[in-house]
Symmetry: C2
Subunit: 312 residues, 2 copies
């Protein structure tokens, strides 16, 4: 039986790679640049070369590797085909097939990066011990991963768990990156929180520490912790949008736990003070007790989850 598994998380700037034992202990992690030029034609060959160099360096034979899991930013369907990975320069790419060939037939499994990160948090992070969970990544955007009975919900064409683009506001006049108006991501991401705060600073006469210095998700929640009234109003707005959206998600998949990660989650459990009340007010009673926890793997969730894809 194989002793090792590789997890690969492809980002727009760097590719993160991890070598794990099959119990999920991270033995080593490293990064290579993501070469997006020429339609991203070098990305998979670079990954294959890096995996093979590591195997040579550590004298690991092909037979001793269970496989290579890969997460990438875009919808990945059940066949391992990624559609429209604009950040990487790819149009359509069969991750599984192409990387297997480059690795001389090694087993490859592929998934969407947010879904894969959810799997990582279930396996070794904040969601350990649960098999029905929803992971929410509050970063520059809002990403999500829905896990039902231990398996990621990929959806019909790889667009499952796209919770950042759930429609939550009918009166939005600025378009989301996706082209729609009023997506959750416009209010609950780091960018969205900054935007809510800037709007509030304009529309309110209240004094606030946010009027001096930088306005960001971090400074907003620092101000919330210091009792700044205006910042609290922003946090309430953020919590209304996110809490009600998570209540709807719970009505669909009834998870045992929400795992909240991404840059915004560095604010800590104070987030839950603003998310839970609107959640509990609007959620179906069967999901009222669903837990909220913080993600614990940070930027490593992707490589953990990618490795887990192979072992699932």
């Amino acid at each position: 039986m194989a002793n090792y598994v590789f997890g690969v998380d492809v980002g727009g700037t760097t590719v993160k790679l991890g070598l794990f034992d099959v119990s999920g202990n991270l033995e080593e992690k490293w990064e290579i640049p993501t070469r997006t030029e020429n339609g991203g034609v070098n990305i998979l060959p670079d990954i294959a070369a890096s995996v093979q160099a590591k195997m040579t360096e550590r004298s690991i034979s092909k037979e001793d590797v269970a496989g290579v899991g890969i997460g990438a930013p875009g919808p990945v369907d059940g066949e391992g085909i990624i559609h429209r990975a604009v950040n990487l320069g790819w149009s359509e790419m069969n991750l599984k097939k192409e990387l297997t060939e480059l690795l001389g037939g090694m087993l490859v499994e592929g998934g969407n990066d947010a879904n894969v990160a959810a799997l990582g948090e279930m396996w070794k992070g904040g969601g350990q011990g649960h098999k029905d969970l929803v992971a929410v990544t509050l970063g520059t955007g809002v990403g999500g991963g829905i896990i039902v009975n231990g398996k990621v919900v990929t959806g019909f064409n790889g667009s499952g768990g796209e919770i950042g683009h759930i429609h939550v506001e009918d009166h939005e006049t600025t378009a989301c990156n996706c082209g729609n108006y009023g997506c959750l991501e416009q209010y609950a991401s780091a960018t969205g929180i900054t935007r809510l705060a800037e709007q509030k600073l304009k529309s309110s006469d209240k004094d606030s520490v946010l009027r001096q210095g930088e306005v960001s998700a971090k400074t907003v929640f620092d101000a919330v912790k210091a009792g700044d009234e205006l910042a609290v109003e922003v946090a309430v707005q953020f919590g209304e949008y996110l809490g009600k959206a998570l209540a709807v998600i719970a009505g669909v998949v009834n998870p045992e736990v929400f795992v909240i990660g991404g840059g915004v989650s560095k604010a800590g459990e104070v987030l839950f003070d603003y998310i839970r009340p609107p959640y509990e007010k609007t959620v179906f009673h069967g999901s009222k007790e669903t837990k909220f926890v913080l993600a614990t793997l940070g930027n490593d969730a992707g490589i953990y989850g990618a490795a887990r894809l192979v072992l699932a």
Copy 2:
């Protein structure tokens, strides 16, 4: 190998039973009353007796029955335990274990009635050929069944697919049956459509055929088909609530098809004219092409799906 399977659909007034061959052909269906008195203590024994009487009548041996599937109105968890089936008088009941014992050890599988009906529509109804589908039952209430990769999403405690209680309106002052305010069911069920129409008749001065005679989901959509302006306004409201809710659901599970059933669906494909525009306007692009079809099994979806539970 067994040739037969029973499907049982427990309602508040009657229990529907069906005898199927293992390919899913319905050989015979019948009903017995649901005896809800004394905490519903007779319901499962009545079902067992009816199944056994049918086996005797048709000289079917125990070995020739693959099992008995049962759907019931309440959250059913992965162990086959139903929680809070208020319409049946049950508090908590292990459907699977109790009915197996009553049937001398025959295989029993249990599920929530709406989830089970979704499985029926996937197997032999409007959703045939699809394995990622969402079934929506627009009846007295709004029920749902979410199927991901061929399997019903039960959720952590059996509350998956409770889409009738998705929060869609912040300004509702009348409570839903579930205790919350502004649930989808309050606008998209037969009762909800009637209510929207009655409110519109009060708030509008427009002439309408609905001012003469009964107001119901049926008369509203009959009037829509006849071009009645006020009825069209009601249909637009209904479609806004339902279309946007289905868009959110699609953002979570990305189904290939929505199967719309229940009494309201007798209005036919005209419903889609009102559901699709708000759906397409707000849904994530990956789910824009999701199909809408009508359910075809009517009241038999439950027995079909229950039988399918056993064969899954």
